[in-house]
Amino acid sequence: MLIKNTIASDPKSFEITTKSLYMDRRRFLQMSAGAIAGAALMPWSVQAALPKKIDGIIPSAFSTDEPTNKYDEVTSYNNFYEFGTGKSDPLDNSVNFKPRPWTIQVDGHCHKPGTLGIEDLFSQYQQEERIYRMRCVEAWSMVIPWVGVELAAILKKFEPTSKAKYVEFTTLVDEKQFPGQKYPIIPWPYIEGLRLDEAMHPLTILATGIFGEELPAQNGAPVRLVVPWKYGFKSIKSIVRIRFVEDQPTSTWMKQAPSEYGFYANVNPGVDHPRWSQAKERRIGEFFRQPTAMFNGYGEEVASLYKEMDLRKFY
């Protein structure tokens, strides 16, 4: 029980607030109640669509100056099988997705395992705008203005040990939020992995937003990976766990079709997928296909990571 000793000289509560202000407060509360009731009547999709600006974003030297795709293109054409396999399913079926509260468990071979709250990500790290090309294995591409944090800065805080050779990422499993998970279309949860040096590369970010606003559900809210020189599916969405591991993780697509998907999945016009030639791509919004660049055009930055490797074998 809280016993508060009052001193005679303390002001009484009625002395602090004037009568008019007190009445104003009542009116304010009444109006708020009305506003809340009104909001409750709004369709969920409308509420969910209210964008939340991210403050204090700085530009990045890694950004491309290519024109970005439109907001509608980036947010209505997505592969996110947790919401369904159609391209518009993620937008249509994500109304029950709740990006808050959200924590990422970080463990495995590191000295300081722990959790990373989504709020920590905003409060402790500088948010940068990174305008990257994004290339899907299905031979389409977009230019997306991500907002995010260099993954290396985050990983270092957990102090990976010398045994940590790879990093494994896991997406949430919850069929209430992810209706696509009601069917075993692919083995849930979605898992991806990077070699530690790939994860620590300055181009690799954990994205928290697009177009200066927090990530919409269909784009991987509240936090996803972005690895711009790899096919889009490597950039795992809605991350709940990051694990430092010694052995190469088996990604979901490797499990699904080992002959079609390798661990590296570097964008490579010279190595075709059984279903799609990777030589060219269609930038969403354009009519003609354009040639695909090795490492999606980020070769200068990342080619050295693979200089000893046969990328036909390690595709």
């Binding site: 293109e73 030589a279 919004g285 009519f287």
Partner: protein, 199 residues
Amino acid sequence: MKKLSLKPVVFLVFFSPFLWLVYGVFAGKLGANPIEYVLRDLGDWTLRFLLLGLAVSTTRRLTGWNGVMRYRRMIGLFAFFYGFLHLSVYIGVDHFFDWATIWKDIVKRPYITIGMAAFIFLIPLAVTSPKAMVRKIGPARWKKLHQLVYVIAVFGVVHFFLLVKADVREPLLYMAVLIFLLGERFYRNVSAFRRPYHS
């Protein structure tokens, strides 16, 4: 008195997916990647008309409704129409006549090879669709030729099955319909063979 023909109405119904696509293209209602949308939709309709064509004689046998046969040629020609557009969009829009890439696709990717073969087989069937052609080549040979539709339908379903990345529920549905339609024929032939002296 001659019965009122429903053919113009049926024609319009079968034509409407195409009209809807044309409207969608011009109204910008086909999403962020309209080329992919159009290609897929035309492919879907090709397969649907192929199966619908096979369902005609099945329907007649199961319901005794002979009138359904009147629409078989039209259905078959619509399968060809949508198949032709599907292939045209693949060649002329998706790859913009990049023959080198298209040829590599045909040689390297079984689903393209099979899809292409299915379309090539459709051509003689479309060409011999007029009634005059039946007389010209003789009903027996005509019938034999048009049995190619079984191969085409199987190729069509396999084509769809092979191009799907992970979720095979939709191609499985088409496969189930095809198995039912072919199974009904198989069952009928076997039963006919078993009682050769009846009828």
